[in-house]
């Protein structure tokens, strides 16, 4: 019997685990009977937990157009993620969601040229959007992805990005790494500088995600290039417990990241205190 109480998780089964980088793995999760555990829109998140270990919010890295499963790309940073990185396929997890808003793919972003800018694990939530946009490709204009990480080994979804996406006529992919290394022929440098060097039209709708400092500097670069705050979106991550704007810890001013976010338009963010 289920009461529909959002705080009570349901079961998911980990069916596949892929290593993306030295500290990031992607976990494919299905409902016990197969299929995605619940419907969602790109940008939304889910609470994953291992009873007795912990529970935390992770962005869903697959698009809802994938009906058979959902995926989570998770960096190893703490107690719970240590445990998740140690588990094997077949492991059941407790999962609840979806939580938060989504990127406005069917409204504000529809028909627009899209510029995705990601740093490190920040590509995880944007991957859901990119997969969705590629599925409904005719609904959107030109698509560009600028993606950077510390090194080539730290680029998540490297195979997918450098093979599938980069070779596709659907979109342009621009990769960069922080420091030169052997076997790397692409750009070397930080994401904000790389963005400045590429000649994007400030009329693009832009979606930015990455570590806080990368987001901050990238947004500064975009404003310098004349990009519009009302067409620029980012997605935030703060500590969460309930996922529904009640437990009180993920607020930035009067907004709750779990409920009013995680996707924020930059003009909304500008009115909030700098506590993120």
């Amino acid at each position: 019997m289920r009461s529909g109480e959002t705080l009570i998780p349901v079961l998911g089964v980990v069916t596949e685990i892929r290593r993306e980088t030295p500290d990031v793995k992607t976990f494919r999760v299905s409902a016990p009977g197969g299929g995605a555990v619940f419907p969602h829109m790109p940008g939304q998140c889910a609470m994953l937990s291992i009873p007795g270990v912990g529970e935390a919010m992770f962005s869903i890295t697959t698009s809802p157009t994938t009906k058979a499963y959902m995926e989570f790309s998770i960096k190893q940073t703490g107690l719970l993620t240590d445990w998740l990185h140690g588990m094997e396929p077949g492991q059941q997890v407790a999962i609840r969601g979806p939580y938060g808003n989504a990127f406005p793919l069917e409204t504000e972003l529809k028909g627009k040229d899209l510029l995705f800018i990601a740093g490190g694990i920040g590509l995880a939530p944007l991957r859901a959007v990119i997969l969705y946009v590629r599925h409904y490709r005719d609904n959107y204009g030109k698509v560009d992805l600028v993606y950077g990480a510390r090194s080539k080994e730290d680029l998540v979804f490297y195979e997918e990005v450098s093979k599938d996406w980069a070779s596709s006529e659907d979109m342009q992919v621009h990769l960069t790494i922080d420091r030169a290394q052997e076997g790397w022929e692409g750009n070397v440098g930080f994401v904000p500088d790389f963005v400045r060097s590429l000649d994007f039209s400030p009329k693009c709708s832009t979606l930015v995600c990455g570590p806080p400092i990368m987001i901050k500097l990238t947004l500064d670069a975009l404003w310098g290039m004349g990009f519009d705050r009302t067409k620029t979106f980012t997605t935030m991550e703060l500590k969460m417990k309930c996922g529904v704007g009640k437990c009180g810890r993920c607020n930035i001013g009067s907004k709750y990241v779990c409920k009013d976010g995680p996707v924020f338009r930059c003009d909304e963010l500008a009115e909030l205190p700098d506590e993120y």
């Binding site: 019997m1 289920r2 009461s3 529909g4 109480e5 959002t6 705080l7 009570i8 998780p9 349901v10 079961l11 009873p51 007795g52 270990v53 912990g54 529970e55 940073t77 703490g78 993620t81 588990m87 094997e88 077949g90 492991q91 059941q92 997890v93 407790a94 806080p212 991550e237 703060l238 500590k239 417990k241 309930c242 529904v244 704007g245 009640k246 437990c247 009180g248 810890r249 993920c250 607020n251 930035i252 001013g253 009067s254 009115e271 205190p273 506590e275 993120y276």
Partner: protein, 345 residues
């Protein structure tokens, strides 16, 4: 309005308790606290506020959510709700009764919290008017009336008589069940209550916090308050404990945690405090790393963020518990006064 001699209150309690659990201010472990009434236990209406607030009945300090059993790679998930109980809380003051509408807006907001919802459905509030408001009272600042305290049933204890006025469907149903105990208050009774209310009003007019004003907090200017330089001196004495949070009838932050019982994992939620340093701590950093940031969060939430999300309603009911309980005597009235004076003095 109905009435009953105060000397027969014990019978009233017994009648209520025959079908519902009855909680009253009782002396328990050296405190006056809402506790389960049993025959022979002396209700204490002589101190205005119970140590804990009425919040504790609807949003208890800890509450079970789920039970997990794990074996190998398998997990079994079960809902684990504490047993439902129909209950009456008698002796709630206007401030505490007012706090429920603040909590309702949070917990009823979609998706509603079904644990809170169930308790609200099962609970009935009988308020008592405050014949002797304390110097720490400032419920009037938030539009509450200590003389007319609301709830499902409002009660006045005046001149050895208990006056009973039911206000809601739930209250009417209880009144119907207890009808045999009461007499009609009649015109004379109504007059006594009217006079009692006027007397309380006169005391409220003399309270030291009578003129506490939130004028400076109304409207926009959230960032101006956030950046106010006075936070620095206000937070200096704060110990970073959770006393104010936990005795507050409107604070509602919580944590969700697992407890290994040895036979499974019990997931429960419990009160948490934005004053605690680990409240927002993540593996990769803390957005509120200083005590100043945490102290400011608590008051900004009550005086700016909550009102912004709830049509200007403040998340404080002026009960004064933080005034009497803070170990270092720092409290919301000092914050209101200091920030209300001159933002950039």
């Amino acid at each position: 309005m109905l009435k009953l001699p105060v000397s027969q209150m014990e019978e009233l309690f017994a009648s209520i308790a025959s079908e519902q659990s009855l909680y009253l201010p009782l002396e328990t472990n050296g405190l006056i606290a809402f506790s389960r009434w049993e025959e022979g236990k002396q209700a204490r209406f002589d101190q205005l506020h119970c140590a804990g607030s009425v919040k504790d009945f609807f949003f208890p300090q800890t509450e079970n959510l789920a039970l997990f059993k794990t074996s190998g790679k398998e997990i079994h998930i079960e809902e684990n709700r504490d047993p439902e109980e129909a209950f009456v809380v008698f002796g709630v003051r206007a401030c505490d009764a007012g706090s429920l509408s603040i909590l309702d807006r949070v917990f009823y907001d979609e998706p509603a919290d079904t644990f809170y919802q169930t308790r609200r459905r099962q609970g009935l509030i009988i308020t008592v008017a405050c014949n002797a408001p304390e110097e720490t009272c400032f419920c009037h600042t938030f539009g509450l009336d200590a003389a007319d305290p609301g709830g499902d049933v409002a009660v006045w204890l005046l001149e050895d008589m208990l006056y009973w006025d039911s206000r809601t469907e739930k209250g009417h149903a209880l009144t119907e069940r207890l009808r045999g105990l009461f007499e009609e208050a009649g015109d004379q009774g109504e007059e006594t209550v009217r006079k009692g209310k006027a007397d309380i009003g006169k005391i409220i007019d003399r309270l030291p916090l009578r003129d506490l004003s939130l004028e400076r907090f109304a409207g926009d200017g959230m960032m101006e308050k956030f950046d106010a330089p006075q936070w620095e001196s206000l937070q200096e004495a704060c110990l970073g404990c959770g006393t104010c949070t936990f005795v507050c009838p409107t604070c509602h932050c919580y944590d969700i945690r697992d407890f290994d019982t040895g036979h499974g994992i019990r997931r429960f939620r419990c009160w948490d405090s934005c004053m605690f340093s680990d409240f927002t701590l993540m593996a990769h950093g803390n957005p509120r790393p200083s005590r100043l940031a945490r102290f400011r969060q608590r008051f900004m939430h009550k005086l700016a963020y909550y009102p912004e999300n709830h049509e200007g309603l403040y998340a404080c009911v002026g009960c004064g518990r933080c005034i009497t309980k803070c170990p270092v005597s720092m409290n919301i009235t000092k914050v209101i006064k200091t920030l209300g004076v001159d933002q950039h003095a």
